[in-house]
């Protein structure tokens, strides 16, 4: 799958990627009204990653339905609408608008955007609010409901249990980590909002640990996200308990990254004589460990 906010609405990538080969497209977060997003600079490259402060710039759910959904409907892949909102009512309203449309196969709820003043992370860092939103949305749809969790909390598994209890079908994790970058010459922050969300290879070890924590806490499927750039990264997430993975920042560098990874997983299975990639999920042998020299040299 391609992660929300890293593949637009799919239509910008068709020149270079066969998007039908994706497991799913998670749309850019959709809000009730169009959002301009934050002023520049919105992105900065950091060691092994990038910080962003896009601010949920998007065309709004109504224009999405009119302008983007027809294209997505024509694809032979799963379309998950990602929803962001400032209030619980607004989450419901966006979902209701999409619920009547053909072509949306499920929802991923962004309760964890670090870059907006209203809503976003305020929900995602409150277990009660996250649970409450999940419960309300659950009552409004029979389609798959995925809650995307933030790592910017003390115990992510508490949130995972809460949304499982509230009826979520799956959990995706992790959203970006709050980070910051500074220019020492000018003593200025490098993002207009001072802090932003860190993504890319730099966050992979953290994401793996969070997914591992969540997968042991809940029974619903976990979708692993965080710094996946190649098939090995993806396999690591499957082994620690993710049932699927999303590729995010790597899409910016290589719009075919997710497709190459999907093909790579199949090739790995064939090589290892595993006839069902599902058998990999959670198959980590946490009691053993590898001599560090084997991977170090």
């Amino acid at each position: 799958m391609v992660a929300s906010g890293t593949y637009g609405y799919g239509d910008d990538c068709t020149d270079v990627a066969d998007v039908n080969k994706l497991g799913a497209i998670i749309t850019k977060s959709l809000s009730l009204k169009p959002r301009d997003g934050n002023p520049p600079p919105r992105i900065v490259e950091t060691t092994g990653g990038m910080l962003n402060s896009i601010g949920l710039a998007n065309i709004g759910v109504r224009r999405f339905i009119d302008e983007k959904l027809p294209f997505l409907r024509s694809l032979d892949t799963v379309v998950i609408a990602n929803i962001a909102a400032g209030t619980a009512d607004e989450y419901c309203e966006v979902l209701d608008l999409l619920e009547t449309e053909e072509g949306v196969d499920g929802y991923e709820i962004n309760v964890s955007c670090p870059n907006v003043k209203d809503g976003g992370l305020t929900f995602g860092t409150s277990c009660d609010l996250t649970e409450g939103i999940t419960r309300r949305l659950r009552a409004r749809t029979k389609k798959p409901l995925i809650i995307k969790l933030t790592p910017n909390v003390t115990h992510i598994s508490e949130f995972a249990r809460a949304v499982e209890g509230a009826g979520a079908d799956a959990i995706s994790a992790i959203n970006t980590l709050i980070g910051m970058a500074v220019d020492v010459k000018t003593r200025l922050p490098l993002l207009s909002t001072v802090t932003g969300g860190l993504s890319g290879p730099a966050i992979k070890p953290i994401a793996l640990a969070k997914v591992y924590e969540i997968a042991r806490a809940v029974r619903i499927p976990v979708i692993g996200i965080g710094g996946i750039t190649n098939v090995n990264d993806a396999l690591e997430f499957l082994l620690v308990g993710a049932s699927a993975v999303q590729v995010g920042t790597a899409n910016f560098v290589d719009p075919r990254a997710a497709i190459n990874i999907a093909e790579g997983i199949l090739a790995y299975c064939a090589q290892m004589h595993i006839d069902d990639a599902g058998l990999l999920v959670g198959s980590l042998d946490a009691k053993g460990h590898l001599s560090v020299l084997d991977t170090w040299l």
């Binding site: 906010g5 910008d12 301009d36 919105r42 896009i54 750039t229 290589d254 719009p255």
Partner: protein, 255 residues
């Protein structure tokens, strides 16, 4: 837009700290227009992580050239490429200058520093269109001027080692006051402060003007939303530098 592993045909230093890299891509060569860019992976792995954008400098047959100075990790890595290496290129990207518009008779091409990059292609396109060209090129010093493949060229250097002593916008202001050009339009590329003063000059003299912006981009084709440019009088607050630009009419944007 295509994504391809392109064969490097050579990297040559053309001025102080300024390099031209030539690679093979018949599609990019055939379809690139003045002001469009390519987004290049400069490393083999994910360090540096993001691609680096470069204006298409020249095209010749199946070959494409970019011009750059070494300012950081990405450009340092590119300057070390050898003939026979492969580089991952995405392009051509972005909206070009509108050279075929009829709102002008004389094209005044203004380049500051590496802002010379889109001018050779603009020159050949304007020649084909049969439009007269005046080219104004500025740099800090004569050692950093790259003057080839341009037409009717006047130069300015900050230190006065070549041509007009001062910045290229001051030269443009002087020339536009002293001479009469038929229906001139300014097409400028360079650092943002320079483009700002070109835009001021155009507004003062009531001339049409397009600028090609340079700046940090995440993806280069619109999916990351990382390169907003503030719009004037629009229902949208921002355009994207990579997808809606990098060439913009100055009446559309706040720079």
């Amino acid at each position: 837009m295509i994504q391809a592993l392109c064969l490097v045909q050579g990297v040559h230093q053309v001025a102080e700290n300024i390099f031209v890299l030539r690679f093979v891509s018949s599609t990019i060569s055939r379809t690139s227009r003045a002001g469009q860019f390519v987004n290049i992976r400069t490393g083999d792995g994910y360090e540096p992580l993001l691609r680096r954008p470069f204006s298409v400098y020249r095209t010749e047959g199946d070959d494409v050239e970019i011009i750059f100075n070494v300012v950081g990790r990405g450009t340092a890595a590119l300057s070390r490429k050898h003939t026979g290496d492969r580089i991952d290129v995405l392009g051509p990207l972005g909206v070009p200058f509108t050279l075929d518009a009829d709102d002008f008779a004389t094209a005044v091409l203004i380049g500051g520093g590496l802002g010379v990059a889109p001018l050779p292609i603009a020159t050949s396109a304007l020649r084909t269109l049969g439009k007269p060209i005046l080219t104004l090129l500025g740099s800090r010093s004569s050692t950093q001027l790259v003057e080839s493949h341009l037409e009717n060229l006047r130069v300015a250097t900050d230190d006065g080692t070549r041509g007009y002593e001062g910045n290229v916008v001051a030269l443009a202001a002087k020339i536009l006051s002293d001479s009469t050009y038929k229906k001139p339009k300014l097409f400028a590329c360079g650092p943002i402060p320079m483009l700002r003063s070109v835009a001021d000059l155009a507004r003062r003299r009531d001339l049409p003007c397009e600028v090609s912006l340079e700046g940090a981009m995440g993806c280069g084709f619109g999916i990351c939303q990382g390169c907003p440019v503030e719009l004037i009088d629009s229902d949208k607050k921002y355009a994207l530098m990579c997808k809606d630009g990098p060439a913009f009419d100055i009446r559309r944007i706040r720079i």
